[in-house]
């Protein structure tokens, strides 16, 4: 029986995917792939790329840390934030990265509060993540992009 995967964040239920053959998740101990009939597992996730594989078809998601629970053939991902690759607006992510870099630089120069620096760093990490996953968006057939 294939997997049913649910991605939820504090703000909304991002996606419920049924009939997933393989789920590749960025576990905090390294990337891990979940197949059907996996043992009950509870793990922390790092910021990274989450991939659903259905046959040859792949759907990448960008997530920024969280938890994953595997129970029988149901996987629940409690993500801090999650976005599907096709939802990612490259231009906006690029702008966010530039903004975060600028803020980080300013915070360092002025020796600002730690909170500001930490926030800018987190924002930077998030935007880089989104750019990476967004760039992977490609035709559903899974054909490799020219120039890799």
């Amino acid at each position: 029986m294939p997997l049913t995967v649910e991605i939820v964040t504090a703000e909304r239920v991002v996606r419920t995917e049924r009939g997933v053959d393989v789920l590749i998740a960025p576990g905090s101990e390294g990337q891990l792939a979940i197949l059907p009939r996996h043992a009950a597992l509870m793990t922390t996730l790092d910021a990274g790329e989450l991939i659903f594989r259905r046959g040859a078809e792949e759907a990448p998601f960008a997530i920024t840390g969280g938890f994953m629970e595997v129970l029988r053939d149901r996987v629940t991902i409690l993500a801090d934030a999650a976005e599907a690759a096709e939802e990612i607006d490259i231009a906006r992510a690029e702008a966010a990265r530039a903004r975060a870099e600028e803020r980080l630089r300013r915070a360092r120069e002025q020796g600002g509060r730690d909170v500001d620096t930490a926030r800018a760093q987190a924002a930077l990490q998030r935007s880089i993540m989104r750019l990476k996953v967004g760039a992977r968006r490609r035709p559903r057939t899974g054909a490799p992009r020219p120039g890799g």
Partner: protein, 293 residues
Amino acid sequence: MPTIRQLKRRIASVKNSAKITNAIQLVAASKMRRAQDRALQSRPYAEKLRVVLAGLATMASGDEEAAHPLLANRPVRNVAILHITPDKGLCGGLNSNLNRSAGTFVAMQHEPVSVVAVGKKGRDFFVRAHAHVLAEFTDLGDYPTQGDTLAIARLIIDDYLAGTVDRVYMSFSQFVSTAVQRPVIRQLLPIEAPQADSVAAAEEFRSDYIFEPSPEVVLARLLPRYIEMQIYEAVLESAASEQSAKMVAMKNATDNAQEITRELTLTYNKLRQEQITKELLDIVGGAAALEEK
């Protein structure tokens, strides 16, 4: 007795107020729907987190050594209260109810209390009361995001871990229904692990999980998230409460204004009729006097 002109002016002014309150009511109604939606959408995450935490906490409670600092009950020397209120007024008794509830609670504490205020109304209240306001977060807007509440959670967790405060409460408005919002006060820290009350939830969380990297690490990551989530939920509930209270208050104001307009118009018409009658009498009287000559 007001003159006709005064009445006319008064009617125009009341009608103007009614237009404004009606507009606020409509805006609040649409904002309320969105705020409620957001509160509902955060539920699945919150539920899941609660179930997992309840399961983990019962596992961890076996050995005292593994308990996380966020779960530890320390002797209480300093208390903090996170007071969540709207930024704006015009929402009936919501603000005064919230402030009264938090004010009474603070007055009842034996230990010194510092206040973390979210929202201008609560901040102003505690500043007026000369309470010790530790920090304030205002202008979260009508639809606060997780990013807004993250900073609040971090401040509170840091202060608690640093030992500046030993117990943290949270005061916010619980959204019961459009007509009912209840001020509630809950303990935020140390975390009282939620009870896995429903059998289904307990069944689901079996102890034969593989934990990666380890149950302690998962718990340590989970606990701060739990605080963040609770604050986020409270802020969302407060936002929904604010909009519903505002909608109801403004609806009452509009109805009231219409009632006043009706009464004033009646008086105005009576006065006008009286004046016309008087004028007619004058004319008829004058004509009769001319004829008699």
